[in-house]
Symmetry: C2
Subunit: 169 residues, 2 copies
């Protein structure tokens, strides 16, 4: 799919079919994340692939929505801030790097006909416990991954004039 | 271009032709950024479009590389943290939201034959001053935008086995 169609096509999927994800498709979306750029190529990122079947109730401690555990897979994108590139003034680019990789994964999923939904409103403590994240590995964002069972709604966005300023000095 | 080719094609362009960017292409890459998802759809992001011609020396205070000012345009992706969605535990998703929008812009640029390079190692103070950023608007990342004058090198990335963990409980 051409990129301009792809970004129109991607939407926040909040209902999933139980159908499993073909392993080849899972590898394809992970490969897209792998190819993402990171500051100074540090690649201080980790993806945890969670199979939801049989663990639905437990996983709802992470994010309490039925559709979160409807999808066969949940992906947790994590960062390792202590290994990430940090600017001279102390700004750590770990959130940026994790977000770029997750954006690649999410767009690759849409390209493969799979649904996703960016989730930030999860319980970080429950995530660390249930996914047994090692010290220093920070969960930044989740997405379910599966075949969509709902339909996209039109995107509501600000106008470009509100988002863009032309600096001409 | 199909997404899987697109992410292979995008690379960090560190030499640019002086050729101007067609306005239609600039609008196209900004539209891609506009369509990006943000936490709770807050859209607390701003893009500043800087025309480099005649301001090369001044702009080098922001990032001191010849190729940064070789491109006809530099794009500064900013966040407005105080307007962004914040998780219950205090985690602010502004860096994530800005990065998603910038990733859309950068991939749309590659799709249109334009070159970009993620830049985090800029001088934030010089940026605030030279771009006259209002209080509360934080510069997060820059990219030059223009036609590439160099060639891609192979991407060096960790193996998937280093980046991905399968959680099966």
């Amino acid at each position: 799919m051409d990129f301009s169609s792809l970004i129109e096509t991607r939407y926040s999927v909040r209902s999933y079919k139980p159908d499993p994800i073909e392993d080849q498709k899972l590898q394809q979306v992970l490969e897209a994340a792998r190819l993402a750029p990171t500051a100074a190529n540090r690649q201080a990122i980790q993806f945890v692939i969670v199979h939801t079947e049989g663990r639905e109730e437990e996983l709802k401690r992470i994010y309490n929505r039925d559709w979160f555990v409807q999808a066969p897979v949940a992906v947790c994108a994590c960062g390792i801030p202590a290994e990430n590139w940090v600017r001279k003034d102390g700004k750590n680019y770990n959130d940026v790097d994790v977000a770029i990789a997750m954006d690649h994964l999410i767009l690759a999923a849409a390209n493969a006909g799979l649904g996703t939904c960016w989730i930030g409103a999860f319980d970080a403590e429950a995530t660390r416990e249930l996914l047994a994240l090692p010290d220093g590995v920070e969960p930044i964002v989740f997405t379910p991954l599966g075949y969509p069972a709902d339909e996209p709604k039109p995107k509501k966005r600000k106008e470009l004039s509100e988002l863009v300023r032309y600096e001409r000095w």
